[in-house]
Symmetry: C2
Subunit: 329 residues, 2 copies
């Protein structure tokens, strides 16, 4: 591969001038510009970005940390992030923590080695105190999920509202015995949703049973298991508010196997509004989360952060969660 030196030599100029032409610096005569461009073209020259990055101490590479890319919520978020990144010629590295504290830290270490210019945490297993140390090595942002007490820019939704909306809907449908399940309780998202859920219950003067409360439910299989547990109960809930469409889909699927009727035997509210929520039969009532919008916005802000050192606001909540009513309630 041709280097900047080869171009300089062919053009009969110095490397400095070639560099100036490439970076659109002022004070280069048109005549020399033309010479440089011709030489570059003739040699098929492409600048080595490693050298550039080393010298300028910047990197157009952003890592996004997620549990698993095969989770549709995250893949749709990452889809939007990558599109946004590509617009600015940034690269997106996918880092799957598989919900493991240690793996999360391994990826954060990459900031130190300057392999990446910034990290977007779209999920997080570690406490803020442990993540905080990495902020001195590069920009860090949270997207959607975040642990308590964070001190870096965070793009997210009002999860309280989502929890409230879904539960309120069930109450309006006449349900009085409402179960619920949520994801990891470490996450502020989860506790906010819980607050919304409990507030709606309280507002309607409803109480709930201890055993109707399921935690750490994240996948289809968890949903199936939850349905089986409910089926075995004496005192069954008539509705359930879940923390994800996947869990809801698992419940719906298992109900079918057990010959239970949705929503008559059990009404189900999902969360996220993934494609599956619409495809299932019955279609799943859910809380729409604009995963693509928050992904794109986070990436946009991260790029500004890296390129112009513009630290975004501490907290960005620009969207509303919406209730999408389908046949499962």
């Amino acid at each position: 591969m041709a280097t900047i030196g080869d171009v300089a030599e062919l053009a009969g100029l110095s490397r400095a001038t070639v560099s100036r032409v490439m970076n659109n610096h002022p004070y280069v005569s048109e005549e020399k510009k033309k010479l440089v461009h011709e030489a570059m073209h003739q040699l098929g020259y492409v600048p080595n970005s490693l050298a550039k990055r080393l010298r300028t101490q910047t990197t157009e590479t952003i890592a996004v940390l997620i549990p698993r890319i095969s989770n549709p919520f995250f893949s749709s978020m990452v889809e939007a992030m990558e599109i946004k990144a590509a617009e600015d010629n940034f690269q997106l590295i996918v880092c799957q923590t598989r919900s493991d504290k240690q793996r999360e830290l391994v990826y954060l270490e990459w900031l130190k080695t300057k392999q990446i210019g910034g990290v977007i945490l779209a999920s997080s297993e570690n406490n803020w105190e442990d993540i905080k140390e990495y902020t001195k090595f590069g920009p860090i942002m949270f997207c959607n999920e975040y642990p308590p007490n964070t001190e870096v820019p965070t793009v997210c939704l009002d999860q309280y509202q989502g929890g409230y909306l879904g539960t309120r809907h069930l109450i309006e449908r006449g349900h009085q015995r409402i179960a619920c399940c949520f994801g990891s309780s470490r996450i502020t998202n989860t506790s906010d949703r819980q607050k919304g859920f409990l507030h709606a219950l309280e507002e309607a003067g409803l109480s709930m049973e201890e055993k109707w409360w399921f935690s750490n439910a994240l996948e289809i299989e968890d949903g199936k298991e939850i349905f089986r547990k409910i089926a075995e109960m004496d005192n069954r809930p008539s509705a359930i508010f879940t923390g994800s469409d996947e869990v809801a889909a698992g419940i719906v699927k298992e109900a079918k196997i057990y010959g239970a009727e949705i929503p008559n035997d059990l009404a189900v509210v999902g969360y996220d509004d993934q494609p599956i929520a619409e495809l299932m039969d019955p279609g799943i009532t859910t809380i729409h989360q604009p995963s693509q919008e928050i992904g794109a916005r986070t990436m946009e802000l991260m790029i500004q952060y890296i390129k112009h050192n513009q630290k975004p606001d501490q907290k960005i909540v620009e969207w509303f969660s919406r209730l999408i009513v389908r046949e499962s309630t």
Copy 2:
């Protein structure tokens, strides 16, 4: 951040010696090794990988080109790839071509700038001739999909077999009027599946109508549209072999809306065996593709290729496609 120079100074040694210790070179006394390790630890030193890469002209970064990460087939493949890459401390960059020739080339250009050490094409819009030029800038491999005449290592499945199995199954179920739909006809995968499909038909002495043949069907919406078209036909097929579970799910969903019975009015075979195939009601009979296995294997081979310059075999076909029978047939 501390540099190798700082470590050398603190240890009272030269940068060369520090480098030797880090890279486990022979001929370094235990005494000096200890000094270096202490200094590194004291400074919290982490080597700058940009500098290393520039000097050694190698990069532990691999790009994988796919149409969209939100497509479950690809996200599950990428999931396995990333896990494999992480084992060797390689980074995976997700590049979404959005089925655009130009975008695909933009990502391939990154090979020239040395930003990436290799490219895995898990989808491809360009002809081999146009991709071939990039082989001189770094290792390129195909995974699953590939255009005709490729000359680089390719990890894939026997798609002919998949097409044959699915169609054969429909024939055994007594269907004689079988429609089909496939993805992009540019891809060898598609034409192989078509061959399998046609061979099964021919073997059974069946013919098909021109209008039962749908092409470029890839997404849920395409499936819905296909069902509507079929519903309007006078001479309807009794079964359809689709090229993806998403298309099949779209068909099943739209059928429900039209009040059609699956499989009585129309039997449907999907492809890929995505989670959705099991979740739909009725469950979708499909061809299982070991997307994770081929993803992991491709990554494994690519890493060997980059690290030890071991070019893998031209063609790697190590798995069988399996028919998974559910209620849609």
